[in-house]
Symmetry: C2
Subunit: 230 residues, 2 copies
């Protein structure tokens, strides 16, 4: 299948408004690749070769320093990553690895930069995308600096409840969730236990919230932190 025929990609807000010829030119150099789980896709510090789009599976973005590692984000279909490094032609700030078997579209960074320097609609879509990403990172910074670990977990569970509805699945291993939320796996276990008093039931990957009002009273969610858009 040619990448340019992939309507899933074409309908992404990033590409939706692009002129047909710019889009086709951009996708001419792109290719699709399948990866098994636990494969390193990019390593922080390397210079950006490709812009990545996840069409199947899931990818973990993480960062390391001084032997420590932390999960920064999970990217699921259809989502992209490392747009800013691509645009700036700068080194990646995060590493990426597949969590499950995944299907990734790779678009040469230079093609992305070429397209955005000629196509106004694409340039504007990138502005919009970057502004959204930026605001989302600001939100997680606020989450980290203003809340303790139980509060972060409570708000995370409510956000997922809102996105997935009713009884839902934790869509990542608890160890990864712990790292994403900025705590240890041990502490995540204890935090879950602490939230049982607020109607949180977690069995393996299955989550049930039996008392949303109480949980919200504790979590105090606000759109200025908890509504992730884009």
């Amino acid at each position: 299948m040619r990448v340019s025929d992939n309507s899933e990609i074409r309908s992404l807000s990033l590409f939706r408004e692009m002129a047909d010829d710019s889009y086709d030119r951009l996708m001419r150099g792109a290719y699709v690749q399948n990866f098994p789980p636990r494969v390193d896709l990019i390593v922080e510090g390397e210079v950006s070769d490709f812009f990545h789009i996840v069409t199947e599976g899931s990818v973990e973005l993480f960062a390391t320093w001084n032997g420590r590692e932390t999960t920064m984000a999970m990217v699921r279909p259809v989502g992209s990553f490392i747009l800013a490094a691509t645009i700036r032609n700068a080194p990646y700030l995060m590493s990426a690895r597949t969590v499950e078997k995944s299907r990734i579209v790779l678009i040469p960074s230079s093609d992305v930069r070429a397209a955005f320097s000629t196509d106004l609609a694409f340039s504007q879509a990138i502005v919009s995308e970057l502004a959204t990403c930026y605001r989302n990172v600001i939100k997680s910074s606020k989450d980290l600096k203003l809340r303790n670990s139980v509060e972060r977990l409570a708000n995370y569970l409510l956000r997922q409840h809102c996105l997935q509805g009713g009884n839902y699945e934790l869509r990542m291993e608890k160890r990864r969730l712990a790292s994403y939320l900025g705590m240890t796996p041990e502490n995540l276990s204890r935090s879950i236990k602490a939230l049982q008093a607020y109607g949180v039931e977690v069995n393996g990957m299955a989550v049930t919230l039996t008392n949303v009002p109480d949980l919200e009273a504790l979590a105090k969610p606000t759109p200025l932190i908890d509504t992730k858009s884009g």
Copy 2:
């Protein structure tokens, strides 16, 4: 003075490449205002009316939740803030207040959006600016999640040493610095004391680093966290 005559602003990377007529049109609706210290310029949650540029003084960006408050950034001449909210026409995620007597240029948000939808050069400059901002926030997120408070302080001191050179000034109150670094004022005091063993001397606002190699050995700075660009 007409704002459009202000070459300081014109020479910002954001406006440098703009066509003359777009720039003039954009600045026609702009105005300059002087504020005393401790004035609230914007409050988080409000919808973006103006894009702000600091030409004199300094502005603190901070965020609040549930009665807590944290300093997110300091903006100094010539720097801008709240570009993403302006672009997205979305509520501010942070509040801003003047720290000293400050001179601020205010550009109506709608004018910024109008300019960027017609001027490709401006649109590209915004892409570049947002990508930089985004990467800078990712860096501070990594700083927060991967380092403890002494390590964050040590790296902060080294970054400032690099920017300001030799013996330099802490350009903000210690209480604000503490909040920015994600710790209490008491703990900042203790962290400074702990770094005396690594050649850090702090007298009031004056900082002297007498043993940079040792401090670097402790701090382990990396461009992937500590080189803030833009």
